[in-house]
């Protein structure tokens, strides 16, 4: 107990401070525990033999030469693990009759995409393992390759899985009329004055996280510890237990520092299963680390949808109905949430608009390609793109200004909370305010004026302006909603607070970061709740042995669900500490006030005790309230009642060189409403990163397969990820409408930029060249596509599937696992 000194001003709250991230020094320098940095005594190394063909029966696998190679300890094929490998799980059966072909980690009978694992080499060094890969001799009996979704669901298609009767995995329909959330869609269209229909292509993308995947397994008796570069250690542990039969309590999964994921590490991967099975079989520690080429070819991909969108309206621009039919490419197998991705988008196609009628119909389709699954935004970017593109098309059809059409139909600020035609309750916001601010940030009027001048003078460089007035649903998720969508788990999050004797605080979070800045943001939250210095808080995460309960990080859920649990646990600590304080200060609990980390007796200046001192008193427990356990630690589980709905207005100004087709972003302004901002620097960073990825979808990235099912874009030479040098300055701003659904008032920001930006960019390019007769350009807007759309019409068409000749034509039909002609050339051509 200390005498109350003359109080200086209470320190400024931590929440709202633009703190630099405390984890960054170690993450940026790489002096940390990346999984591949792990070295265990006696550790063996794995290399995976992968299929060079897209679809074939495996007729024989000869591993003898590989097994005899120097340093090789063992070689395993799918047959060796057939009894124990189970199937990679799909936790989201979106319909009761969804077809799941089963997904062995190591192929046994057949291969269904290039890059599928067929054997694994175990060796004393990574180099020895890699050298032996080419010695495994696999005979393949080729089957027809299914690549095109529209062909795959047409009459008499070739089959991706010959034991199934079709290429359709599921058909998921949401009809607002039937659900009672809207009117009859067919009637709305029958009675409409104007109907606009478009086909949009969401190209296949590769998450391309910075740190390649890696896993290390250490057996210890009948226990196994796995380190994995995963977003989801908790889910991974549960699933590994279910698949491999290793009891859950004998498995510990640790996600050490993880270098990015973007959904790409929201997975239970074949390689993680294989690593565990090999360690279990041999009783030795083993490590697997992928190469970049393996990563691009075999880690799950994202997007890949064909969208048929119809919008109905009257001549005045009042929207009447929306119909969406989607073909969603699952790739060759269903992974953890593959079918759930389009379903997460199902409810967001109406966007911010008051559609009276809405119907969503999605077919999940198998093709002989790498499976798809979550990728930043998962379903919502696709939805946002479709609605924001079709609104522009409708505006053109009606001869209306695209912003005026939006304004006429969007939900007004005074209408929140608003229940949409998809049955979602949008929580808060003001679309008009965000739009006004974004227009000012952009300098809209001058740019429109310049656009007019360029058009009139027939300038070879034309200018366009594109909008995206988006919202999205995130903060996954209310458990009961996930239940209603047949998802295999809940959406809560867990946190606990441990008060250490010296007054320092350990926060354990179930939401495992992989670069988002949890350690900093959680410390800010706890510092405010407990009144302790920011530096006195340490955040622990990512280890199922430390953080026993958790559902990890995806769907912009960490702050709004995980952070809410942290706040709630902190408040429980304060409530317990209050009892101790009352005891020690010999006062009634109700007479105590808690301020800046100290309890004092209201109206009786002089004595107080800080929560950090109470932590020591609790450790000693010499003098504790009667009947109270000597602990002020607490934990909490937060299950949100609703999603959060960030929104914003993104405006892109785009220059198009009509002679070459080259597009260049002239200016990009966006105003996002992400509710309460805990750390403006982190929010800004998330927005920038999201914009980079959303713009990358619009302009750069595309996974391309050739006619045989080889991934042509198998290196970063041909899969173009933009760097800072390729992106414009971003003019960002915020409006703040707190989310009512969590105690922080925050809305998720992790995916917003990625969801919002893509249609703004495409709309801008189209706005620049629409007067030249262009009505659509397929993503990514390569210069060639833009040029073709301008000079020969259409949407720019397919690209050639040959890789560029850099590195002497190195593509992925490379070498992993087979002696191809290329690998036997012995020269660099």
């Amino acid at each position: 107990m200390t005498a109350l000194e003359d109080r200086t001003e209470a320190p400024a709250p931590e929440v709202g401070k633009a703190r630099k991230r405390k984890e960054d020094a170690r993450l940026i320098t790489g002096r940390t525990t990346w999984t591949d940095n792990m070295v265990l005594p006696g550790m063996l190394h794995l290399a995976v033999v992968r299929s060079p063909v897209a679809h074939a029966k495996i007729t024989s696998v000869d591993v003898s030469a590989a097994a005899d190679a120097p340093g090789v300890v063992a070689v395993f094929t799918g047959r060796d693990f057939a009894e124990e490998q189970g199937s990679i799980p799909c936790a989201w059966p979106v319909t009761p009759d969804m077809v799941n072909p089963g997904h062995p980690s190591l192929a046994v009978e057949e291969v269904n995409h290039v890059g599928e694992a067929v054997a694994v080499i175990v060796a004393r060094s990574k180099a020895a393992a890699q050298d032996a890969v080419e010695l495994v001799d696999v005979d393949y009996d080729p089957l027809p390759v299914v690549l095109d979704m529209e062909e795959a669901v047409a009459e008499q298609p070739d089959l991706c899985h010959d034991h199934l009767s079709s290429n359709e995995s599921f058909r998921f329909v949401f009809d607002a009329g039937e659900a009672g959330t809207g009117q009859n869609t067919d009637e709305a269209f029958a009675n409409a004055e104007v109907v606009v229909s478009r086909r949009f292509v969401q190209q296949r993308l590769i998450p391309a996280f910075m740190e390649p995947r890696a896993a290390v397994v250490q057996p210890q008796g009948d226990n196994y510890t796995m380190w994995s570069s995963t977003q989801v250690p908790h889910i991974l542990r549960l699933m590994l237990a279910m698949i491999t039969g290793t009891p859950e309590h004998k498995l510990r999964v640790i996600a050490p520092d993880v270098g990015g994921g973007f959904g790409g590490k929201l997975q239970v991967t074949p390689e993680e299963v294989i690593t565990l099975l090999v360690a279990r079989r041999l009783g030795k520690p083993v490590k697997w680390t992928e190469t970049r080429s393996e990563s691009l070819m075999s880690a799950h991909h994202g997007r890949d949808q064909i969208q048929y969108v119809d919008v109905a309206a009257d001549r005045e621009g009042n929207i009447k109905g929306l119909k969406v039919h989607i073909l969603s490419d699952m790739g060759a197998y269903l992974r953890l949430v593959s079918p759930g991705v389009p379903v997460l988008g199902a409810f967001m196609y109406p966007g911010i608009y008051k559609f009276p009628a809405y119907r969503f119909d999605c077919q999940g389709v198998f093709t002989n390609k790498t499976p798809t699954d979550a990728y930043r935004g998962a379903g919502r970017p696709e939805a946002t793109f479709a609605i924001e593109r079709i609104m522009d098309e409708l505006a053109v059809e009606l001869g209306m200004d695209p912003l005026e059409l939006r304004r006429k139909n969007w939900i007004k600020a005074e209408e929140f909370p608003f229940t949409t035609v998809a049955g979602l309750e949008y929580d808060s916001g003001d679309y008009d305010a965000a739009t006004q601010q974004a227009l000012e940030l952009l300098g809209y009027d001058e740019l429109r004026e310049e656009q007019r001048r360029r058009r009139e003078s027939d300038d070879p460089v034309q200018l366009g302006i594109g909008f995206s007035t988006f919202t999205e649903m995130c903060g996954l998720a209310p458990s009961r909603v996930l239940g209603s969508l047949s998802y295999g788990a809940g959406g809560w999050e867990h946190a606990s607070i441990r008060m250490l004797p010296t007054g320092k605080v350990e926060v354990v979070t179930g939401s495992t970061p992989h670069g988002q800045g949890h350690e900093t943001a959680w410390s800010q939250l706890v510092a405010d709740e407990l009144g302790v210095p920011f530096e006195d808080v340490e955040v622990l995460h990512g280890d199922t042995g430390i953080s026993s309960r958790g559902l990890d990080t995806y769907g912009s859920r960490s702050l709004v669900v995980g952070g809410a649990a942290v706040v709630s646990a902190s408040q429980k600590v304060v409530a317990k500490a209050r009892k101790v304080a009352a005891h020690l200060l010999e006062a009634g609990e109700d007479d105590l006030q808690f301020e800046s980390g100290s309890f004092s007796v209201r109206g009786t200046p002089g004595t107080s005790i800080s929560i950090q001192e109470i932590a020591l008193a609790t450790f000693a427990a010499h003098n504790f309230p009667e009947g109270m356990e000597p602990s002020i630690d607490a934990d909490a589980t937060f299950d949100p009642v609703n999603f959060s709905f960030p929104h914003g207005t993104h405006i892109c100004a785009m220059e198009v060189d009509t002679e070459t087709g080259f597009v260049k972003i002239r200016k990009y302004a966006c105003v996002d409403d992400v509710g309460k901002i805990v750390n403006p620097l982190i929010v800004e960073g998330q927005v920038h990163g999201g914009l980079a990825q959303g713009i990358a979808q619009a302009l750069y990235e595309e996974a391309i397969y050739d006619a045989d099912g080889n991934l042509t874009t198998g290196t970063f030479v041909d899969y173009l990820v933009p760097s800072a040098a390729d992106l414009p300055h971003f003019d960002t701003g915020n409006t703040v409408h707190e989310a009512p659904g969590n105690p922080i008032g925050a809305k998720g920001v992790g995916e917003a930029g990625c969801i919002a930006s893509t249609p703004a960019v495409v709309n801008a390019a189209l706005d620049a060249v629409r007067h030249l007769g262009v009505t659509d350009i397929r993503m990514p807007l390569t210069p060639e596509r833009v040029w073709r759309a301008i000079h020969s019409g259409g949407d720019g068409g397919d690209r050639a599937t040959a890789g560029s000749n850099a590195y002497g034509g190195a593509q992925t039909e490379t070498t992993a696992g087979v002696s191809t002609e290329a690998s036997s050339l012995g020269g660099d051509r």
């Binding site: 990574k126 180099a127 890699q130 050298d131 080419e134 190469t291 080429s293 002679e659 070459t660 080259f662 750069y700 391309i704 042509t712 874009t713 290196t715 030479v717 041909d718 173009l720 933009p722 760097s723 040098a725 390729d726 390569t782 210069p783 060639e784 040029w787 073709r788 690209r799 050639a800 599937t801 040959a802 890789g803 560029s804 000749n805 850099a806 590195y807 002497g808 190195a810 490379t814 070498t815 290329a822 690998s823 050339l825 012995g826 020269g827 660099d828 051509r829």
Partner: protein, 285 residues
């Protein structure tokens, strides 16, 4: 990925290097900056028996003057080329093109000679060397020989440098006085190879173009000279119209490839646009 095993030699003189190559067995690769060789070895598209590393051969580095020519050592890195005042003064086209090569890290390792011997059709320096009528000094067991640029680039990734030989240096005639130069590169992201590029050097005299040299990048398996453009420009008025008319010939005789960056007809179109732009800039218009 990890390259297949190989023997490694690190000579310090050209003579030692030639001996190491001769002694290296069937398949010997010379290592310069490694920015093209190491990736193909890691992808196991190349698996040489011996790698002879030129990194310690000091005599292969640097830029010097020799009368009317600049002499650029094969092992001069891209970044040293960029920083060199002689190049800025006498062959700014090389500096302009080198600046567009890859990123800073690659430019610090990759070399002028390596880029030319590698002869990637999408590489930026071959067309520049061709446009500047550079000469290539090649050393072999029988001594040294000099090959003009037009004979140096033989085919896709293939040059006049034979087995057992080394590129030692490149002689670039100084183009002083009335010459203007421009390298016009077209690619999608900053660090990428050229989809198409055009190297132009133009000498003006009395409002006319007295002489023009135009090199094309990635318009065929080897770099090309746009001969028809050069002929049309020779003696033409230095006006936008005359240049545009000449540039319209840029695709003549080219056989570009079709890949995911561009199909052949689009590359041919780009060649005309970029030629017009490059020549216009080089002519100071």
């Amino acid at each position: 990925m990890i390259p297949a095993p190989f023997e490694y030699a690190r000579p310090t003189t050209v003579d030692e290097a030639l001996q190491a190559i001769a002694a290296g067995g069937e398949d010997v690769k010379v290592l310069a900056g490694g920015q093209s060789l190491i990736p193909v070895m890691r992808l196991r598209l190349a698996a040489p028996e011996t790698v002879v590393d030129l990194g310690r051969v000091a005599e292969l580095r640097g830029v010097r003057e020799d009368g009317d020519a600049l002499v650029i050592g094969a092992m001069t890195t891209h970044s040293d080329v960029l920083a060199d005042p002689l190049i800025q003064q006498h062959a700014p086209l090389i500096a302009q093109a080198t600046e567009t090569v890859a990123d800073r890290q690659v430019r610090h390792r990759g070399t002028f000679g390596g880029a030319l011997v590698h002869a990637d059709p999408a590489g930026d320096l071959p067309a520049v060397a061709l446009a500047l009528d550079a000469e290539f000094v090649i050393a072999g067991p029988e001594g040294r020989r000099t090959v003009p640029a037009r004979d140096f680039f033989v085919d896709y990734l293939t040059t006049a440098v034979g087995e057992g030989e080394l590129l030692v240096e490149v002689r670039v005639p100084k183009l002083d006085g009335q010459w203007g130069m421009r390298y016009e590169k077209f690619n999608r992201v900053a660090q990428a190879w050229s989809i198409v590029a055009v190297a132009a050097a133009v000498r003006r005299e009395n409002g006319h173009i007295a002489e023009a040299r135009v090199g094309l990048t990635n318009m065929g398996p080897t770099p090309l000279r746009a001969g028809a453009v050069e002929a049309a420009l020779s003696g033409a008025e230095a006006t936008p119209e005359a240049i545009a008319a000449a540039a319209a010939h840029a695709a003549e005789g080219t056989e570009p490839s079709s890949d995911l960056n561009a199909q052949a007809d689009y590359r041919q179109h780009l060649a005309t646009v970029l030629t017009r732009r490059a020549v216009t800039a080089a002519a100071g218009l």
